[in-house]
Every structure is written in C-alpha cells, then in structure tokens.
C-alpha cells in the first residue's frame, strides 16, 4: 500500500518534449487510469515511475519517498508491459511463480502455488498453467504476463494496456474480473489505456493525457459531465459528441448561440461570454431525441432532415442534417427514412459550450462577470 506522486515530471528526447510538467497524485489503494491516444506520453510516464527512464526534470515519489534516483529493483513496483516477455522454456505456472522464488518475495511452495492458482483462475488461464508460452495464443500469453505481475506483493502495480491483445469479448470479461481481483483492490494501481470505456470501467479517477500534458483529472462522472475541453469531450463517448461551430449573439430574449451557417440557434441560460465570442456548442448523441409529435416543455428544438439512419444493436443512430451541420442522435424510437423532415430536441441542461480558440469549456452556470462589472 502506498501513495504515488509525480511532481513537475518532464521528459525530453532530443528536441521532442514527451512529457511536459506532469503533476499528479495517486492515493493509497486507488486505481488510477492514464488515458490518451498513442504518442501522448503514457508509456513514458509509466517508465519514469518504474525507473526505466530517467526524467529530464521533476520527481517521482512513492509513499512520500523520493525514488527519482532509485534503481528500478528497489522501487517495489511491479510492471506489466503491453509486450510481455515470458521465459520460453518455462511453463505458464513457472513463469507466473518466478518472482516468488526471488530472495525478496520468497514464500513457501504451497503459498506460491495457491497464489498463482487464484490469480490464474481470475484471469481464466488456470487450465493452461502447464503449457509453454509457444503453446499459448497471444491473448493467453498476455494474461500470463499480467498474472506474473499480480502474484507478487508490490507498493504499486504499473499496467501498460494489459488487455490490448485480447479480443473484444474477452476484454470486456477481463475488465470486470480485474477490478474485482483482491490483489488489485488492495494495491495502488496505475493503469495506462487508450480505451475510454476501459478507463471508465476501471478507474477510481482518470487522467487524460494529450501531447505530454495532463488535460484533466477526475472521476469518470466528472470527465463525462464536465470535460475540460473539446479534446476530453471527444475522447469519451461513441458515437462522438456533436460539436457545432458558431458564435454568441445577443437576441431579444437573451444570449444566443448561432451556428456559423446561421441555421442553428439556441437560447442559452445566461450570457457566459461577450457577444461575438467564437464558440463550439457540444451535445452528446445520447442526450438528443427525435420528436414523435409533441415535444416536452423546456427543451431546445431543432428542425432538419434525416441524412442517414444506422442501427446500433437495438437502438438507432439517426444523423440529421440542419443546414451544413450533421447532428447524430441515438434513439430507441422507430426508424426514420432518409430525407424525412424531423424535429430533434434536448434539455438545455445537457448543453456544453467551448471556447473555439482554446477549446476550453465555458461554464454555463457562471455569468459573464466582465459584462456584469461593465454594466
């Protein structure tokens, strides 16, 4: 059990800045997920924590102890790579129990066997323990490598996309298993992923990394409901959030969002920024609905034509064209025909607004303080 803290972590490779001023704290026993696209610096961060890379600046602390200059072996972290390295001449069981033979972690043979079998059971590889790596599939080998990490006690588990080589169904199954594994629940875990669903499913908190910078850190609910910027908003959700470019204008009833082509106008609950500000309006496909006759009061309504209808399991994704804008709606209602006239609606409480220049979210609950002061 331990806390993990990264302070001003920076890593340069020649002219390339891979990590830029990374600050984050992982609590004791927490499951933390670092989420980002490939090339964002996730694996570099992990290697700095493990001691496999030396940061250019900043420090790594484990349980309050500065380990920046400590050898990997003495950091008491256990790391599972995306590219597992197993001993080819040892069975899966021998590979998994190997760390338990070392002086530091030595346990009785009986205890080692119990631990390996329990972890193997959870990972669904118990029946494969007597096989050699070459007799296993890629996904099975990956689970053996993960199991090898989980059997030995550590202050922190470092996990680099450990489910990436599994097929989609197994991934989903393993996700639920991993979270409920006793070892995982008691050990601080730092998990790297590019899959937003994995992050939401596993993470007590999630850090979103983009080009070496931490864009946002928070619980799943926080990053979902109050994304820091358009990058975070687009990272979570499938189909992706609808973003419509436009500007703020003053109307007779208050501040309006008007799309660039003038075809979409939405009355905002207040004036969050001065008129003329270039913004993007964000609304998630799940928060939109296709009208069937009457629409509920206090909703924003938009009229358009059906562009395309796609089935997602039982639900439909209806893409509606309004002027030049394509808006995706996920609905459980009956099918629509292409080019049919439809009204779509959403509750204004679901609306997100972003500053176009920086991509940063504008808080709609906060009035335009500057404008109030001016008035």
């Amino acid at each position: 059990m331990a806390t993990l803290s990264l302070q001003g972590l920076r890593k340069e490779y020649g002219d390339l800045v891979a990590l830029d001023e990374l600050n984050l704290d992982v609590r004791d026993g927490e499951f933390f997920v670092l989420l980002g696209p490939s090339g964002a610096g996730k694996t570099t961060t992990l290697k700095c924590i493990a001691g496999l890379e030396t940061p250019t600046a900043g420090r790594v602390e484990i349980d309050g102890r500065d380990v920046t200059d400590v050898e990997p072996y003495d950091r008491n972290v256990a790391m599972a790579f995306e590219n597992y390295a197993l001993y080819p001449q040892k069975t899966a069981f021998q590979n998994m129990s190997f760390p338990l033979n070392s002086k530091r972690y030595r346990v009785s043979e009986e205890e080692a066997r119990k631990r390996v079998e329990r972890v193997a059971e959870t990972l669904g590889i118990r029946h494969l323990l007597q096989r050699l790596p070459r007799e296993l599939s890629g996904g099975q080998r990956q689970r053996v490598a993960l199991g090898r990490v989980l059997v030995r006690p550590a202050d922190v588990f470092l996990l680099d996309e450990p489910l990436s080589h599994l097929d989609a169904k197994l991934q989903m199954q393993m996700r639920a298993e991993l979270r409920s594994l006793g070892e995982m629940q008691n050990t601080t875990s730092f998990y790297v992923s590019h899959d937003y669903r994995e992050a939401l499913a596993l993470g007590d908190r999630i850090g979103v990394l983009r080009e070496g910078r931490l864009v946002q850190m928070g619980t799943g609910e926080e990053v979902w409901q109050r994304p820091a910027d358009t990058f975070v908003a687009r990272t979570f959700g499938q189909p992706e959030i609808n973003l419509v470019a436009g500007e703020l204008v003053d109307g007779p009833e208050g501040c309006l969002f008007r799309s660039r082509d003038g075809e979409i106008e939405v009355l905002l609950p207040n004036r969050p920024a001065p008129p003329g500000t270039s913004v993007e309006l964000g609304i998630r496909p799940l928060d939109l609905e296709v009208a069937d006759g009457e629409t509920p009061p206090d909703t924003v309504k938009l009229a358009g034509r059906v562009y395309v209808v796609e089935r997602l399991g039982r639900e439909l994704e209806v893409t509606v064209k309004i002027g030049e804008n394509l808006i995706a709606v996920v609905t459980g209602k009956g099918s629509k025909d292409p080019d049919e006239q439809v009204t779509i609606f959403f509750s204004s409480s679901r609306l997100l607004l972003f500053e176009a220049e920086t991509g940063r979210r504008i808080d709609l609950e906060q009035e335009d303080v500057e404008a109030i002061n001016r008035a």
Partner: protein, 364 residues
C-alpha cells in the same frame, strides 16, 4: 447501371500440393437485390473474403455460379464484370496524384464530369486537402479512403467493399461509415460489404449474411439477426456486449415448463416446442434484463460481481444462485451497486431466446 447479383451453390476448395484440402466456401446461395447493401459478416477465416474475391473474379470458382443482372460472369475476366472494388489493402498508382488515382480510367468510360464527381466524393470522405499529393506521403487511413473514393466514382453494376474502415480511427470511422451509407443510398449501387465487425454490419447493411466455417449461418435484416438469431453462433457473434448464454435443462412443472439453470435458479419458458428434460441454452441480451425491487415468476436472485459506470450506460456483472456463468445487465448510467450485494433481476420473457444445446439451433 446497378444490377442484381446472385450466387448459386457457390463452392471454393483450395488444393495445394502437400497440404490438406481447404473447403473455404461451402454451397453459398445468396441474392443481392438491385440497390441493396448486403454485408458479408463473419470472423476471420469464415470464407467471406474468398466469396468476395470470386465475385470480383480474382479467384476461380470451384463450382457453382455467379450471376450479375441475370448473366453468368464466372468465365469473364475481372475488368469485364463492371465491378468496382475497394480493398483493405489499397493499390494506388505511386506516380499519379490522389485526384488522378481517383479518376483514373474514367475518361475511357465516358463518365459524366469525373473531376467534379471525384471532388464531391473526396469532400464527403474528408480527403480534399490531399487531392494534389502523391500516395507515398499518405497515412494508411488516408490511402484507405482514397481507395474507397476511387471505387465510389465509378458507376459499377456491383460495388464491392472489403473491410473499408479497418484502418481508420474511431472518429474517422463514424464519419466514413455515415458517408458510405448515404452515398450508397443516393447512388443506388448494388453493394457487397465484407466485414468482421458486427457493429459495422448492423449499422450499414440492408441485410446481413453471417458466415462461419464456409457456410451461411443466417441471412436477414439487422433487426432479425440481432433480435431473432437462428443459432448459437449468430447469438454469440452479434451484439456488444454480447448476448448472455446460460446452459440449463427443461423441466415440466404443474405451472408449465421451466428451464432449470441450477438447483436454486429456474425460469419459466413460454415455448411449446421444447420437451421435458431437454438440454437447452437460454439467450438473453443485457438490455433485456432489469434490476427490480420485488420478486415474481420471471425474477431471479443474483449476487453482484462487478459494476462498471460507463456513463453512457451502466454495466452490471452478476452471478445467479448456483450458476457458474456470469451474466451482464445494462442499467441506468447513474446506478450504484456494491460487490456481493444481492439483487433481483427480471429477464424479459418476450426477449428470451432458447437454443438446443446439442445442435446450437434455435428452438422456436
């Protein structure tokens, strides 16, 4: 001019010296209507690509026939079949620009204003900015869209798309999928889409032909394949998260037929074609199981194993009393469950599907 396409008793056997014979495609009968988009769906090695390659004329037919607009094409070379093909592994001409690659050969066919059409399609696929470039500089995702654009500007009798979205990232995939579907609807091209991705097939196809081990498993609309699977293979392949499949045995009681899943858990079944003491598999989708407050005939007891707050939805994994297989339930996104908590689940009786455990066939 789009035409209809028919495959009759189509077989493909690969015979290589020193290797066992591979019967890759086994007696496929399939009709694709004029203007229809049919998805050939299946796992890798199921025979879908061999089927596509036979339609294109890139593979010889071992036996059976392929008819386009009612006439057999099996003896015609690829270029005389009036087919357009977008590959997973795009072959672009390196010395030509992207625009030239897209319009290549169109002048020869006296197509109407090919440049204009090429530009329109390029815009819709999001590749306008690279029209002047050479293929060498492109990413795989861009090459794939160029290959797609090249197939779409032709006016083929049959359009063949082989995993057209496989190299695109999630956002590009959404956009490209939407545009392919819209373009296909506008042009009315008869289209065969080969894919291993069930979501791609569900979202784009008018009908899906699901293949496994060289044989057709089911042909139907996305709705039919999703809600009315013909066998266990279809039930397990289509849907994300997949359908829950639970093994059990039927039992006659004074109140009707039950499926007993374990000593402690059983479900009533309203299916008159099962016989008592038959080994069956109960299939039910995660969105057709509901967490409820009180008991009832369709309600079973379960213990929470894990809960995943996916925000778009909640995904609850539980174990039914005495049942080894865990089941998944979709819940409201803001639900809260803790491990080992007891819950009651109602399995919607109208949505339960029964399969014979031996043959895997649906019991209707």
């Amino acid at each position: 001019m789009p035409e209809d396409l028919a495959l009759t008793e189509l077989n493909k056997v690969y015979r290589r010296r020193g290797k066992p014979e591979v019967h890759a495609v086994r007696g496929i009968d399939l009709e694709v209507q004029q203007g229809e988009l049919l998805a050939l769906l299946g796992p890798s090695g199921c025979g879908k690509s061999s089927t596509l390659r036979m339609i294109a004329g890139l593979e010889e037919v071992t036996s059976g026939d392929i008819l386009i607009g009612g006439s057999s094409v099996v003896d015609l070379p690829p270029h005389r079949r009036n087919i357009a093909l977008a590959f997973e592994n795009y072959a672009l001409y390196p010395p030509l620009t992207i625009e030239e690659n897209i319009t290549f050969g169109l002048q020869a066919r006296r197509a109407r204003d090919p440049q204009k059409r090429a530009r329109e399609i390029a815009e819709r696929l999001g590749i306008t900015d690279i029209l002047g470039q050479k293929p060498g500089a492109l990413s795989t995702g861009q090459k794939q869209r160029v290959s797609l654009a090249r197939a779409l500007v032709r006016e083929p009798s049959v359009l063949l798309l082989d995993e057209p979205l496989s190299h695109l990232d999630l956002a590009q995939r959404d956009r490209t999928r939407r545009e392919i579907k819209r373009l296909q609807e506008e042009t009315g091209y008869t289209t065969v889409l080969v894919t291993h991705d069930q979501l791609e097939a569900l979202s784009m196809a008018d009908r899906i032909a699901l293949m496994n081990e060289g044989e057709l498993q089911q042909v139907g609309t996305p709705e039919e394949v999703y809600d009315d699977p013909a066998n266990l293979f279809v039930a397990g392949f289509v849907g994300d998260p997949p359908m829950n499949l639970l093994h059990g045995r039927t039992r006659g009681t004074e109140r009707g037929m039950n499926v007993s899943l374990s000593g402690e858990t059983s479900l009533p079944v309203a299916n008159s074609s099962v016989s008592p003491d038959q080994r069956v598999v109960v299939g039910v989708r995660p969105q057709d199981i509901h967490v409820v407050d009180s008991g009832g005939p369709d309600v079973v007891r379960a213990t929470v194993f894990a809960f995943e707050p996916l925000q778009e939805t909640g995904l609850l994994t539980t174990t039914l009393l005495g049942v080894e297989t865990r089941i998944k339930t979709e819940t409201a996104p803001r639900a809260r469950f803790s491990r080992e908590e007891s819950v009651r689940l109602r399995l919607d009786p109208d949505r339960i599907r029964l399969f014979d455990a031996e043959s895997g066939d649906r019991i209707r």
